[in-house]
């Protein structure tokens, strides 16, 4: 179990971590970064799986199923979209020197 204050400490430290990481990001990466952080909160999938795994009534089953569906969409969609964007950033770097044409 995580007690109240331990939870607060985790919350505080994680919040500073998130803030610090973003603070040094160049503007050109803001869109991929928003997309990337969007992917990371796809971890909600894990919570939805737990909720569905502990469901007892048909209502809880239904809402849990919906939650897992949405969470999986968040995680997979976020990953694909971010990866596609960042792939272009990778490709354009060597292209700058390679094909002056």
């Amino acid at each position: 179990m995580i007690d109240g204050f331990l939870a607060l400490y985790i919350f505080m430290l994680a919040a500073f971590t998130g803030y610090e990481i973003i603070a040094r990001v160049p503007v050109i990466l803001h869109t991929p970064l928003m997309s990337g952080s969007n992917f990371i909160h796809g971890i909600v999938l894990v919570g939805a799986m737990i909720a569905l795994g502990h469901a007892q009534t048909p209502f809880e089953l239904a809402i849990g199923f919906l939650g897992v569906l949405l969470g999986a969409g968040n995680a997979a969609g976020g990953y694909v979209v971010t990866e596609r964007m960042l792939e272009m950033f990778k490709a354009s770097k060597p292209a700058a020197g390679k094909e002056p044409r």
Binding site: F11, G18, H30, N38, I40, H41, L69, A72
Partner: protein
Amino acid sequence: MAWLPVVIKACYFLAALLFILGLKHMSSPRSARGGIVWAGFGMLVAVVATFALPDMHHLGLILAAVLIGVAAAWWSGRRVAMTAMPQMVALYNGMGGGAAAAIGAAELAGYAGNAITLLDGGQFTASGAASPGTAQLALAVLGALIGSVSFSGSLIAFAKLQGWLDKRFTFPGQRVVNLLVLAAAVVLGAMIAGGQLSMPLIAAFFVLALLFGLMMTLPIGGADMPVVISLYNAFTGLAVAFEGFVLQNEAMIIAGTVVGAAGTLLTQLMAKAMNRSIGNVLFGSFGAAGGAAGQAIGGSQKPIEASDAAVMMAYAERVVIVPGYGMAVAQAQHKVWEFAKLLIERGVKVRFAIHPVAGRMPGHMNVLLAEAGVPYDLIADMDDINPEFPNTDVVLVIGANDVVNPLAKTDPSSPIYGMPILDVAAARQVIVIKRGKGTGFAGIENALFYADNARMLYGDGQAAAGQLVAELKALDG
């Protein structure tokens, strides 16, 4: 099997670590792609570990839902065009918010079910001394509220950017009504957190929360959507963190909180780039006053032929290209880059100038230019390029409008007054490629188009860029 819980905890720890490292790597273009792969691996580890949790039922059902969700999102994410990225992020973000809300609903319904059975057995006391603590209930409610708002709000943002919802939905007293809806949702939430776990109450709470997300987003104009999406991204992160506390899942707490904080900062940066406070975006109903007042703009729009425009740039020393979202919509970025390359071959110094909010999100235009193959060193930020405009012979504006509108500097009654702009009017000549004479995305008249040194090249962005390329090639015989 005493080791299993430890292994699962270790997996969650690894996932949290990989998320943070991944996000860190994403903050530099060189390592960015590695970052998302690391984070993706962390997600995989966390999901697989969750299947091994003790006390999990309905594993088949879970697997089915995961596979369906992943397949649908993977398929849609693969085939969406780069220009549509912002709304896809909104959509996936809404899904995350919805999932967080669903967790809250399932947990609350579970508590409610238990409370009712307890009540039948005569054990339950009205003071709410049932198994979940008040803090846990409050966090479940809070996460559900934020998640629901993010869910319905993101879907509206998606619909607006997709062009399904063109009109801004406003009515008198809207702010008061919205506030009342929110207040009602908060009161119901407080009652639930206080221990009144009845299903009708919980249902009413969710309806109100979802309704508030809708009503809060409907009056916001399309131009402000990036800020809104970013804000909802932060919301979803927070909702995930809160539900993580409820479920005692450390990976959710850390990932959710990191995203919540990062998303909040990102939202502030975006709002700052547009010179608008977040409160102004959410409650200012942008553009509602625009069009009514405003300075009268003198002069007329002066057209130019593609051949003249091409010659003008071919014999210029410095050319700056200012791309906007309109260029991306017309899929003209490849043609524009081809044109720029021809100019560079002729010895013209060409640079691309990007406004912080060009495209639909900060950095969106960089992604689109990167897709076309434009190297980094030719792309300049607003702060770097603005002092150079007086030394620039020709500025080619393609598909950009509000970010080059001088009214942002001169007309205090303009809705975009105070927004930093690209100072293109300071250049010797400005050529604007534009579809027609209409106003831009935000519906504001642009004084630049009437300026003495501005020439309008009417036409579809791609066709016009194609003409320029052809004319330039013709010059060389």
